[in-house]
């Protein structure tokens, strides 16, 4: 979905959000309360500059508007694959963004992630995946790698990977797989305002993804292994 269409559905035609290149930002009103929105569009590659721009918004919200909820709008092709970004320490810029979002959560800001178009790897770890919880639209795409590329890297046949992906969500792209594994809390279908309202009211602040993954059958081991470590003699 186009970001403009999404925020119009969520916040009305006079939402006041703007895009500067691939960067989205705005302070909107939702149910009569202010809400900070930050994100990316055009399948943006997240480089140092874009990570810092998002972190700036989050730090400003913490400083100026204690407790104001934050909505992260996610559309990214992943991290910027450039030597300059690596030289500049893109991993630290990403960690900085993640730490800023994490700090916002700890200081009582509700932080909701929404994959409205595409989410890949590095661009996703320090946005939606470090929010209180991440949601997605049904036609969004989430992946680390497509099956053909995975086949090349792992030197396994595409047929085998495709067959296995029918029963195991670990292998193939898709929002449903991320829901099954607990990485996405749920899909927003139908009335998007109702979905956001519900997310703001009911999203847990603890990390329940491993438990969800076990209950939904998509990631059966993670929660149990964590518990075994906690219980080990």
């Amino acid at each position: 979905m186009q970001w403009n269409s999404l925020v119009t559905q969520l916040f009305g035609a006079f939402h006041g959000m703007r895009a500067v290149d691939d960067f989205l930002q705005g302070d909107v009103m939702f149910d009569g309360e202010p809400l900070a929105v930050v994100g990316t569009t055009n399948h943006a590659p997240i480089g140092v500059k874009l990570a810092l721009a998002q972190a700036r918004v989050v730090l400003d919200v913490i400083e100026r508007h204690p407790g104001r909820p934050i909505l992260l709008l996610i559309d990214t092709q992943g991290q910027q694959l450039r030597r300059r970004d690596e030289l500049l320490g893109i991993n630290r810029a990403m960690a900085h963004l993640g730490a800023a979002i994490d700090l916002a959560r700890r200081r009582g800001h509700r932080v909701i992630g929404l994959v409205y178009d595409q989410a890949l790897s590095g661009g996703f770890i320090t946005s939606g995946l470090i929010a209180d919880a991440c949601y997605a639209l049904p036609d969004a795409e989430i992946r680390v790698m497509r099956i053909p590329a995975m086949a090349r890297v792992t030197k396994l046949s595409e047929e085998k990977l495709t067959a296995l992906s029918q029963s195991n969500p670990v292998f193939a792209p898709g929002v449903q797989n991320y829901v099954a594994m607990g990485g996405v809390r749920s899909l927003w279908q139908g009335d998007l305002q109702a979905a956001l309202r519900d997310a703001l009211a009911n999203t847990p602040t603890e990390d329940l993804r491993a438990r969800d993954g076990a209950e939904r059958g998509g990631r059966r081991l993670a929660a149990a292994v964590v518990q075994r470590v906690l219980d080990a003699a």
Binding site: V48, Q79, E86, H96, R143, V229
Partner: protein, 299 residues
């Protein structure tokens, strides 16, 4: 002097911690392995490539994890990631003096990519919980596989990074960037360029590595001991300082146009950050590089 880079994960644990003090949780005898690799017909490791447990360091209790680079490049899968999360949650509960993470990883294990990606973000959240509880998390980087991908982000979520000059810390590996944007963008076979871009000296001079050591297990041990009592809380103020530092660095790097085809970006960046005689850095000893930053105001 014993090379840290050449040790296995378990050799590092044996040599770095107080002798005989490492007590492992979910050891290989319990065979907690990856079911996904088994489905693919790929060999498993009985520890899924990471050893976790408690130990003492200079007589004080620490929790520790060591990733084994020889198994799938230290890649994080469902079980591997859950062991790290479990260790960090246990640290929050039991409050050891510190948590040590001997990181060696290419990031998400692509054979179980979706689970690995979620797992890395769970590790991040659990690590930041430990930090918020005032328990320092210290990351040691010096393995032959470096610390890349999601683990490169996790590493920089920690309080401190200790690195050797042969250690590498980054997000995307040079090969990935070369495959994506061509050899003109990043020649992965140019070892000197790779080290200037991702190596310990570079990360130390820009401030992304806190302690630079020789490739020596004893030096890593000493640096880890010195880091035990240095928790660095994450607050709005400390994040503003980090933000200003990253912003300054971004502005300091000259544009590709102004550098010209023969200019080297790493050397130009070091110079712009105030390092004297930056072109000499690749030839300098670890000790000499440490002295360079000693004169820098918060590199």
């Amino acid at each position: 002097m014993i090379s840290y880079a050449e040790c296995s994960a378990r050799e590092r644990l044996a040599l770095l911690l107080d002798p005989g003090s490492f007590h492992e949780w979910l050891p290989p005898s319990e065979r907690v392995t990856s079911p996904h690799l088994a489905l693919l017909g790929v060999p498993c490791a009985f520890d899924d490539g990471v050893a976790i447990g408690r130990a003492t360091l200079a007589g004080r209790e620490v929790f520790v994890a060591a990733q084994e680079g020889a198994f799938m490049g230290g890649g994080v899968g469902e079980v591997h990631g859950a062991k790290l999360v479990g260790l960090l949650q246990r640290a929050q509960r039991d409050r050891p003096t510190a948590v040590l993470l001997l990181a060696e990883s290419g990031g998400v294990r692509l054979h179980e990519a979706n689970a690995g990606l979620i797992a890395v973000s769970e590790v991040m959240r659990a690590l930041l919980d430990v930090r918020a509880a005032g328990i320092p998390v210290i990351v040691l980087i010096g393995g032959a596989n470096g610390c890349f991908g999601g683990m490169g982000i996790v590493a920089r979520c920690a309080d401190r990074i200790v690195m050797s000059d042969v250690g590498r810390l980054a997000m995307s590996g040079p090969e990935v960037i070369e495959a994506s944007h061509g050899v003109e963008e990043f020649d992965a076979r140019d070892r000197a360029l790779v080290w200037r871009t991702t190596g310990g000296k570079h990360r130390f001079l820009t401030g992304d590595c806190d302690v630079l050591v020789e490739d020596d297990v004893a030096a890593f041990r000493e640096a880890a001991i010195a880091s035990l009592d240095q928790p660095t809380p994450l607050t709005p103020a400390t994040l503003e300082i980090e933000h200003a530092m990253l912003d300054r660095r971004l502005r300091a790097l000259p544009s590709e146009e102004s550098l010209g085809p023969l200019g080297d970006e790493a050397i130009a960046l070091w110079g712009a950050l105030g390092i004297a005689d930056p072109q000499q850095v690749p030839e300098l000893t670890v000790e000499a590089v440490r002295a360079l930053r000693a004169g820098q105001p918060g590199a």
